[in-house]
């Protein structure tokens, strides 16, 4: 790192640019942040880490004025501040590089950078000056972006650069980057890191949120770890090992009762992929799933897991390689093809893709079966009714009235509906993307049980999950995905517990 950031690295002598003390925040009675301290000094990159629900994003949203804090203090350059709005935070010099990009696609790059803060002569916007100033900012960042290009015509990496330029145009002294590399290719990540270094040389502080340990070690000076809404530790990265970080993030969680792994090597192969590539970047994916087996896909966000699921289900086009089901090669060009070959995807976002929330539990369960239970366009209500009753029983869906809209159910019960809906179609291959996300712990166990029972009946299951305890509890074998391909199968020593798995996914201790 640079001389400037060397000098301040973890140094208590430097006055913090931002200092948050004893921050508390509750949402509908649930304490999300509990007395959290966090500070950033000028010129440093400060990594913020923690598991899902640790409070990272809530803390950052308080800093940006999106949420108002319940207790504690925020000081910027030693002056106490209270942010009532995003506007206040911007005025105090805090800029956010949003994870979900917040640009207007129909405007140009320059128009986006100066949106609502356009340079004007009189009351008229001075477009020429706007473009010139945008150019100056990009020059300062040492990147080349045409300020007159419409946003929609540019690839993702440029959106991010525009976000950063926008923050700089507002004279931000602190940039908050939330998973900034998730959507970037390798060389774009390199360029982003170079840019971050140049910015910190200018005395700008960066709060860096990332799940990727390598990146954190490469770019950050200090790290703060949150766990369950509390501040756990702050340390210079030079003084902390990856194992300590993982332990800090994971903590000593109660292990889920992991069932014995089934050995299915003598069973026939159901799903077999060879050299699969897809338009979404996926490449060289080869894997086999045998009868009765649950195969888990582990990997970081953006490692290609969801892309694999989408390609298999015919949402993203397969460009090379073969898919075999029960030994026969199949062509999957659209979801209908996948369903015809009895390959089913339970998608990531159940509220958006899996359920018609405003419809009743019954009609959701019946939706995939309308074709089988209708004659000449007339729906056989009686057959569908008994089908729905059977599924509610079988999957233990807790619902007072099956006529109630699905939106009234808990996340766990909604997920059971999605699962019941698809399993009842009797698929041969079941692919599930994050089946336990946002589901309470009790229901999780039931869902995991249902998935394993389904596999035991002689089907093949592929599971994607970012929740390691659940992934470990579900899977008979685990494959590691990285950079849009299956890197290798994890060996049993790497799947003994959550910590071992996290280290394997992060690529620590593996040559």
């Amino acid at each position: 790192m640079t001389a400037a950031s060397q000098a301040v690295r973890g140094g208590p002598s430097a006055a913090p640019l931002v200092s948050m003390r004893g921050i508390t925040k509750s949402f509908s009675g649930v304490k999300v942040l509990d007395g959290v301290d966090f500070e950033v000094v000028a010129g440093e990159v400060h990594a913020l880490a923690g598991g899902n629900g640790a409070g990272k994003s809530t803390l950052m949203k308080i800093l940006q004025g999106v949420y108002q804090l319940d207790g504690g203090t925020v000081e910027v350059s030693g002056k106490p501040r209270r942010f009532g709005s995003i506007h206040d935070a911007k005025r105090a010099g805090l800029g956010m590089v949003f994870q979900e990009f917040s640009l207007v696609p129909t405007l140009t790059v320059a128009q986006n950078i100066f949106l609502n803060d356009e340079p004007r002569t009189g009351r008229m916007i001075d477009d020429r000056q706007m473009v010139r100033r945008a150019r100056e900012i990009f020059e300062r960042m040492q990147v080349s972006v045409d300020p007159t290009a419409p946003m929609a015509s540019l690839p993702t990496a440029y959106w991010q650069l525009t976000e950063i330029a926008k923050a700089l145009a507002e004279d931000a002294r602190v940039l908050i980057m939330d998973e900034p590399t998730a959507a970037l290719a390798q060389q774009e990540v390199r360029a982003l890191f170079d840019l971050v270094e140049r910015l910190t040389d200018d005395g700008i502080a960066v709060v860096y949120i990332s799940h990727r340990m390598e990146e954190v070690y490469e770019i950050a000076d200090r790290i703060t770890i949150l766990r369950n809404g509390k501040h756990l530790l702050t340390s210079a990265l030079a003084d902390i090992t990856p194992e300590q970080i993982v332990e800090g993030i994971v903590g000593r969680t109660v292990a889920m009762a992991a069932p014995p792994r089934r050995d299915c090597t003598d069973r026939p192969v159901v799903l077999s992929l060879a050299g699969l590539a897809a338009g979404n970047g996926l490449h060289d994916v080869s894997l086999e799933v045998r009868e009765g087996e649950v195969v888990g896909l582990a990997g970081l966000m953006g490692s290609g897991r969801t892309e694999l699921a989408r390609a298999l289900f015919g949402i993203d086009a397969i460009t090379a390689g073969t898919v075999r089901i029960d030994g026969r090669e199949v062509k999957i060009g659209k979801p209908g093809d996948a369903l015809a070959h009895r390959l089913v995807l339970v998608p990531e976002d159940r509220r958006l893709q899996g359920l018609v929330l405003s419809h009743s539990v019954n009609s959701n369960l019946q939706l995939p079966h309308l074709g089988d239970h209708s004659r000449g366009g007339w729906v056989d209500d009686r057959a569908l009714g008994s089908l729905a009753r059977r599924l509610v029983d079988e999957f233990r869906i807790k619902v007072a009235r099956p006529e109630a809209p699905a939106s009234l159910l808990s996340g766990g019960n909604q997920q059971k509906i999605v699962l019941a809906k698809w399993i009842s179609r009797d698929p041969r291959v079941l692919v599930m993307d994050e089946p336990t996300a946002g589901v309470d712990i009790g229901t999780k166990a039931e869902i995991i049980e249902a998935i394993r029972a389904f596999a035991a009946e002689g089907h093949a299951v592929v599971v994607i999950s970012s929740e390691y305890p659940e992934l470990l509890a579900m899977s008979d074998r685990l494959l590691l995905m990285r950079e849009s391909t299956v890197e290798r199968e994890l060996d049993p020593t790497e799947t003994t517990d959550e910590q071992a798995l996290e280290l394997a996914v992060q690529g620590v201790n593996h040559e």
Binding site: L107, N116, I125, V143, T148, L192
Partner: protein, 320 residues
């Protein structure tokens, strides 16, 4: 990223052709050319035609300028036609009872009141603008019919008539001056003023707009207000030109205005808009109307052909 200039940014696109945005100009020229050839003997190419077409486009243009802002902000206003009718009635009544200035103020005030109600319901009560203005369409129409007992209210104030659409300035009909004024101001607002950018950002991505410090509720409120004001002035122009206020003035104009806006390249989903495009959209429709009249088609046939042309134009604009 830092070393290479992106292919996407390599070319300057200042003069490039955007199919969706520019189809209106192609269409306009094409229709002019076709009519010039087919209707040569009927006298399509004449000064009289020129003024007639402009005059026909004028009032719809006045309404459509406000509508452009509303649609660019991803809202809609179905009440403009009825508001125009009610404004013509209110203005005519106030003119005859209280005189010139109160008459004008009454018309403007009506637009402000209805615009504020529409705006508040859309922006703050968060009711979809389609529903709010659909309801307002009926309410305004009903009030106008009720207070006049379905009869026209005559306007005898000649100063009013001369200034609001009935008179000429030199050789130029006053209606056309009003139209040019509206189009010019609308263009500057949408293209050169901060409010225009706020409208486009709100229409394209309200979250991004909020995160850029734009109070999107106020943007919505203001476009609804402006649109109603425009509709009220359009109604006052009807009143001047036809020397009376009547609940039917402006009926159906909401559809013409929306068609002009969409033909002009403004996205129904919001985020892109062009007032000049809208102006040419209105002009195109007036030209088609006028041409079909010259060709001897009756109103019912005109409506059919106009509908077909609108579908064609919008379908073509969708291509990209």
């Amino acid at each position: 990223m830092s070393e290479s200039t992106a292919t996407a940014t390599a070319s300057r696109r200042r003069f490039s052709f955007d199919w969706r945005r520019d189809i209106i100009y192609v269409g306009f020229v094409a229709v002019l050319a076709i009519f010039s050839v087919l209707l040569r003997d009927e006298g399509f190419l004449s000064t009289a035609s020129f003024w007639n077409i402009l005059r026909q486009a004028a009032i719809v243009s006045v309404i459509a300028v406000g509508m452009t802002l509303v649609i660019a902000a991803a809202e809609i206003d179905l009440s403009v036609g009825s508001v125009a009718g009610l404004a013509s009635v209110v203005t005519a009544m106030a003119l005859s009872h209280y005189g010139l200035v109160p008459g004008i103020l009454a018309g403007l005030a009506l637009g402000a009141v209805i615009g504020s109600i529409n705006g508040a319901l859309v922006a703050f009560a968060r009711i979809p603008s389609f529903l709010v203005t659909l309801a307002m369409m009926g309410i305004a129409f009903g009030i106008a019919q009720w207070v006049t007992k379905s009869a026209p209210v005559p306007i005898l104030d000649l100063t009013y008539v001369a200034n609001f659409g009935g008179g000429n300035i030199g050789p130029i009909p006053g209606l056309i001056i009003w139209m040019v004024l509206f189009v010019a101001v609308g263009t500057v607002v949408l293209k050169k003023m901060r409010f225009g950018r706020q409208i486009l950002a709100t229409g394209a991505n309200p979250v991004a707009a909020e995160y850029s410090g734009i109070r999107t509720s106020w943007v919505r409120f203001r476009v609804m207000l402006i649109c109603s004001m425009g509709a009220a002035i359009a109604g006052m122009l009807y009143a001047g030109r036809l020397q009376s206020g009547r609940f039917q003035w402006g009926a159906g104009d909401e559809m013409n205005a929306i068609a002009a806006v969409i033909l002009g390249g403004t996205a129904l989903a919001g985020g892109r808009g062009s007032v000049i495009g809208t102006f040419f959209g209105a002009l195109l429709m007036a030209t088609i109307n006028y041409g079909l009249i010259l060709a001897g088609l009756d109103t019912s046939q005109q409506q059919i052909i106009r509908g077909v042309i609108i579908i064609l134009a919008v379908a073509l604009a969708r291509k990209n």
